[in-house]
């Protein structure tokens, strides 16, 4: 077994490869601001969104962000996420739009009894389309990365969507050099992914180097959890029905990705800083999306959701 060295990064000194990724992302954001009429930045509150927000502030400095940010709320996010979102918007003076699919909420769609597939379709995919249509955004900037999932590895940085927001993976525009084709036909829109070429580790190394605030749920703490599907589900409020034999217990838990709390499995960990997290990731044997029940249904779950207009 061959082990590579384990030097840690000095804070504030951005290594060359991160500088190049940063510059590429900044260039992509400026391209969006220059070429589109009505952009929006999709903000999921997660670590990737946090990095994106940071990059956007760099791209347009000393000006403010030239577009609003949009959060699609399902009503089932961790409470700490919502608090962090509102605090971030205040701290940075952001133009924050929060959208919830009220119709779905009225129908009582939830991740527990409706199942993850229906909940995602109605409260996330449908909700996103509603918000984009309502505000007439012609481009939305998202934090997806190509290393997350294999259908993402095939997606363009400037990715065309039909009038119904659907993605056709077989008919993508070739994307050469940095010459992005930003032209839209009537009612088409664009999804743009400035973090396409970042990996999960790059994100954490960058968060550590740039001291970017993230939701505390990413760091280990004693949290009330129950064991489900090989993961730890946090009992974040009293809406999570417990089986008769289930007793919440306190464990040192952190989350690699954040979503709706009943669908997001945590891992046991002692990482309490971004550098700890990066070090933990260097030795982990599980992929990032492992804790997300959304992809587990079927191998091509993500591609199908994306075709339908998911983030």
């Amino acid at each position: 077994m061959q082990i590579f060295g384990d030097e840690t990064l000095a804070p504030q000194s951005l290594p060359e490869y991160l500088k190049r990724l940063e510059a590429e992302s900044i260039g992509i954001m400026r391209e969006v601001a220059a070429e589109f009429r009505h952009p929006v930045l999709l903000y999921s509150i997660g670590k990737d969104s946090g990095v994106m927000l940071h990059l956007a502030r760099k791209a347009f400095f000393p000006g403010a962000l030239p577009f609003p940010i949009l959060h699609i709320d399902t009503g089932w996010k961790f409470r700490e996420m919502i608090a962090f979102r509102d605090d971030t918007a205040r701290r940075l003076g952001l133009d924050l739009i929060v959208h919830m699919n009220e119709e779905g909420k009225a129908r009582g769609i939830n991740p527990i009894t409706s199942g993850s597939a229906l909940h995602t379709a109605v409260m996330k995919t449908e909700a996103l389309k509603q918000a984009l249509d309502r505000h007439g955004f012609d481009v939305s900037i998202g934090g997806a990365r190509r290393d997350e999932e294999k259908s993402r590895a095939k997606e363009r940085i400037f990715s065309l969507r039909s009038a119904n927001h659907t993605w056709n993976p077989k008919n993508q525009r070739p994307e050469l050099w940095r010459l992005y084709n930003t032209r839209l036909n009537d009612r088409q829109s664009m999804r743009v992914f400035p973090l396409s070429n970042w990996t999960e580790l790059d994100i954490w190394d960058y968060i550590a180097a740039e001291e970017i605030p993230v939701v505390p749920l990413y760091f280990a703490a004693l949290r009330p959890v129950v064991r489900r599907h090989d993961g730890w589900i946090m009992v974040d409020d009293d809406r999570l029905p417990l089986a008769p034999d289930e007793r919440p217990e306190l464990r040192w838990i952190r989350f690699r990705t954040l979503g709706c709390y009943p669908l997001t499995g945590g891992i046991e960990s002692s990482a309490t800083t971004p550098s700890d997290v990066a070090a933990e990731l260097r030795s982990t044997r599980q992929s990032e999306r492992w804790g997300r029940l959304i992809d587990a249904d079927e191998e091509a779950a993500m591609e199908r959701k994306k075709r339908e207009g998911y983030f």
């Binding site: 077994m1 061959q2 082990i3 590579f4 060295g5 384990d6 030097e7 840690t8 990064l9 000194s13 290594p15 060359e16 490869y17 500088k19 190049r20 940063e22 510059a23 900044i26 260039g27 391209e31 220059a34 760099k58 791209a59 400095f61 000393p62 000006g63 403010a64 190509r146 999932e149 294999k150 993402r152 590895a153 095939k154 077989k170 525009r173 070739p174 994307e175 050469l176 050099w177 940095r178 010459l179 084709n181 032209r183 839209l184 036909n185 396409s196 990996t199 580790l201 190394d205 260097r282 030795s283 982990t284 044997r285 599980q286 992929s287 492992w290 191998e299 091509a300 591609e303 199908r304």
Partner: protein, 624 residues
């Protein structure tokens, strides 16, 4: 059998290498990438578990893991066992982070390879040791070089299947070196390996004692792809003007070549305007210097009129600035390239209408032979002359990728139709100056006491265009107007008698007529043009040519059935009998105008009434 070395911590100086992998279908490309990712810790246990399940279900490697399943991300790809599209993979070691563009070996390889190669600094070309060099290997090497890749790794794979025989490897390596010498200045490293067993991939193999070179991974670490950027000329395409308030006016963009320091003078390419840099603004504080790859915002000591699309350089190092140049073009659309048609051309941050004026030759990528052709089809490569509606600043692609590359966008579908690499500016463009004339359009028109205009009648053959045009001209003449009538059939007897009826010839036919109509309008005339002109793109072109004279598109709208019934020239009958090809409405399309100024529906009205409708419109628009 597979070993795992964990995702590595970066060294502070870790840099980034972008590479491309190519090879034929069964050369073991996926296995090689899978092994690199796996050994560098970029594949996780749960992904491996999925891979084991899928290998049993769809795999082609018996009991072994089929790494291609890890890489083929789309549902169709996994089910049909083919790779459709470029995918991007990531792995890292302490010294370097790597981005791999993984391109399919067969279907549409040119388009996909060019896409992957456009951002790559190094290419790994796989060869099966049993088969040696294939025509495909040469094609891949040629396309890599055309796209500016200067470092090639010839990975001679499946050495285990030829008993690690030295002579086999050497033959292949020498054969390839000879071919590569024809491609220009490139560095080639040949490495014997077995992706399946791991020989010479990340660890040197005991089974190739005769091989003294590095492993593939060692080579990827050591190859120097830096451009020693500071010595190259400074190039800064202006991407976005940052004007958050009245006090701040900055120009944002990325330095694509060279470097610049605060206090230095920069020049706006294509002008004699220059200004001194006041500050290099970044979020992390003002920078003394901005180098190749840095995304920054520049402010100037004096006001200078700069916009998105402009290119900044240093005085004495100005790029070329012309409206005609020669370039290699790779065609990427199902719709063939039509010389003469107007596309949108994007170079740097600038987008202008542009036209391929001549296809000098097509390249046979297998033999590198130059072939004569009239068009480029999907995945074909040609050497072309192009002209743009306004001069653009550029460098030859070999000197700077970012300022020498362009894409062509179809103006109607908006798809990316082609990609190009500029070879050189055409001297005639910079040498033929526009002669300033004292007497202009206005003066000539004033003498005739009229407003010049182009009346463009379009419609199917037999729709009644010529008849109506003739009456319109008679009526204008009676009103004392100076006119000229250009008729489709008539110009084909003279000016355009060398043109046929293919799509390319139809486009050229309309382009010439558009130029003539423009000249006549400049002479102060009201020009009446009667042409089928079936394509929207060309009607748009003549509209743009005619400006600033008034241009009225007049759609003579007669249903196809009615035209066939009238058939004044007997052409429909001929076409239906198979004696006339490319006939509009039958086997060649007519694109109905979407926003014609005048639509004349001819059913149930006389040609006289149709002409009167047009005259009424001219009065309404104060042209007469």
């Amino acid at each position: 059998m597979l070993r795992f070395c964990g995702q590595a911590s970066p060294r502070p100086g870790r840099d980034l290498l972008r590479l491309l992998t190519c090879g034929s279908v069964d050369d073991g490309k996926s296995t090689l990438i899978g092994r690199l990712l796996y050994e560098c810790g970029s594949i996780f246990d749960d992904q491996l578990g999925t891979l084991q399940r899928e290998s049993r279900r769809f795999g082609t490697t018996g009991d072994d893991l089929d790494f291609s399943l890890l890489l083929d991300g789309l549902e169709d790809e996994r089910q049909q066992r083919i790779t459709i599209d470029v995918a991007y993979r990531f792995f890292a070691t302490p010294q370097r982070a790597f981005i791999i563009a993984d391109t399919p070996g067969h279907e549409q390889y040119t388009r996909n390879m060019a896409t992957g190669a456009s951002t790559a600094e190094l290419a790994v070309i796989l060869v099966d040791a049993r088969k040696g060099l294939l025509p495909q290997t040469k094609r891949h090497a040629y396309i890599c070089c055309l796209l500016g890749i200067r470092h090639i790794v010839l990975a001679v794979n499946k050495m285990d299947l030829v008993d690690f025989e030295q002579s086999r490897f050497q033959n292949i390596a020498e054969h390839f070196s000879k071919f590569a010498a024809k491609l220009g200045e490139i560095s080639v490293a040949a490495i014997p390996l077995s992706a399946r067993l791991g020989d010479n991939v990340t660890e040197i193999s005991a089974r190739t004692p005769w091989y003294r070179g590095p492993t593939l991974l060692e080579h990827l670490h050591s190859v120097d792809v830096s451009n020693s950027g500071v010595d190259r000329p400074f190039r800064f395409p202006v991407q976005w003007v940052n004007r958050p308030n009245g006090d701040f006016r900055g120009f944002s963009g990325t330095v694509v070549s060279g470097s610049i320091a605060a206090g230095q003078e920069v020049l706006l390419a294509g002008s004699d305007r220059s200004a001194r840099i006041k500050e290099i603004v970044t979020f992390d504080g003002a920078a003394d210097r901005a180098r190749e790859g840095d995304a920054v915002t520049l402010t100037f000591e004096t006001d200078i009129d700069i916009a998105r699309g402009d290119l900044l350089a240093k005085p004495g190092e100005a790029p070329e600035h012309v409206d005609q140049f020669a370039a290699y073009v790779i065609w990427m659309s199902e719709q063939p390239l039509v010389p003469g048609r107007s596309y949108l051309l994007r170079v740097g941050t600038r987008t202008v209408p542009g036209t391929v004026t001549a296809l000098k030759h097509r390249v046979d990528v297998e033999t590198l032979a130059h072939l004569a052709d009239r068009t480029l089809r999907l995945n074909e490569i040609g050497f072309c002359n192009l002209s743009t509606a306004a001069p653009v600043a550029f460098d030859p692609y070999d000197a700077c990728r970012d300022t020498g590359a362009f894409i062509l966008i179809d103006r109607f579908s908006n798809e990316t139709a082609g990609a190009g690499m500029i070879a050189f500016g055409l001297r005639r463009a910079s040498n033929i100056h526009w002669q300033a004339l004292t007497v202009g359009r206005e003066e000539r028109a004033a003498l005739k006491d009229q407003r010049p205009a182009v009346l463009w009648l379009t419609g199917l053959s037999g729709a009644g265009k010529s008849t109506i045009a003739d009456i319109v001209e008679k009526k204008l003449l009676a009103l004392g107007r100076h006119t000229m009538l250009l008729d489709g059939d008539n110009v084909r007897h003279g000016l355009n008698r060398d043109l046929g009826f293919t799509e390319a010839d139809r486009v050229e036919n309309i382009r010439r007529v558009g130029e003539v109509a423009k000249l006549m309008a400049e002479a102060g005339l009201i020009v009446i043009c009667s042409f089928i002109s079936p394509f929207r793109a060309e009607r748009r072109l003549v509209r743009e040519l005619a400006a600033p004279s008034a241009f009225l598109e007049i759609f003579v709208d007669t249903p196809l059935e009615e035209c066939m019934r009238r058939d004044p020239k007997g052409l429909y009958a001929k076409a239906k009998a198979g004696r006339l090809e490319h006939f509009t409405g039958l086997d060649s399309p007519y694109e109905v105008p979407e926003a014609a100024e005048i639509r004349v529906a001819t059913i149930g009205i006389s040609p006289e009434a149709a002409a009167e409708q047009i005259l009424a419109e001219l009065r309404g628009r104060r042209i007469i």
